[in-house]
């Protein structure tokens, strides 16, 4: 399944990319699975996602928990807790 991944703030800096289009292997069913798969791709991803308590997610531009199923999703954004205002 092809999906657009977006990274923001310290996640973007740790990975060194703002976005990438990836083809997820079968068996990757939730946002958590996506992160596990990314971590397996290299140390920059492992560093970016080392502390999942400080990771927040939006699936197709709606805030969502890590357990969210990703079937049919076009975009998954991964970022730290928000600090606007």
């Amino acid at each position: 399944m092809a999906v657009e991944l977006l990274y923001f703030a310290r996640i973007r800096e740790a990975i060194g990319l703002g976005s990438e289009r990836v083809d997820l292997p079968s068996g990757v069913a939730t946002v958590s699975d996506v992160i596990d798969w990314l971590v397996s791709r290299g140390p920059a991803y492992a560093e970016a996602f080392a502390d999942r308590t400080r990771l927040r997610v939006a699936v197709d531009q709606q805030f969502a928990p890590l357990e969210t199923a990703i079937a049919g999703a076009g975009e998954i954004a991964l970022f730290p807790p928000v600090t606007g205002g």
Partner: protein
Amino acid sequence: MSASILIKVEQADFDVGAELGHLEALGGGAVASFIGIVRGGDGLTALELEHHPGMTHGALQRVAQEAAKRWPLIGITLIHRYGRLEPGQRIVLAAAAASHRAAALEATSFLIDWLKTHAPFWKKEYFADGSARWVDARAADDEAASRWNA
């Protein structure tokens, strides 16, 4: 009656008088507002505000709609800037118009509390010594937002 909602996400500064004037012209008896400004001190030279461009407008719209559900509002304005901002510059405007002051004041407080925890913005601080750091989310902001959950 549905509230007139105005959302802007932009790099440029906003005209506070013009924005509040727009709310005043809606015909209610009360307009309340909050302006967030870059705080100086500790050698801070600038803030960089990053956001999720595809999502921010919709997220702010949902914050405004939530306020409109909870209070009898006539108008809501949410403006949030992004990019590089220096101490003393405006970051955000949250404002509400209503028939009476209680709704306008409470809704304004809600709008900024909810915005801080429900809109995809991230602040990075730059200092005079050349260092930089991402601002950590504050537990106090989560608590301020959660008091509206009751």
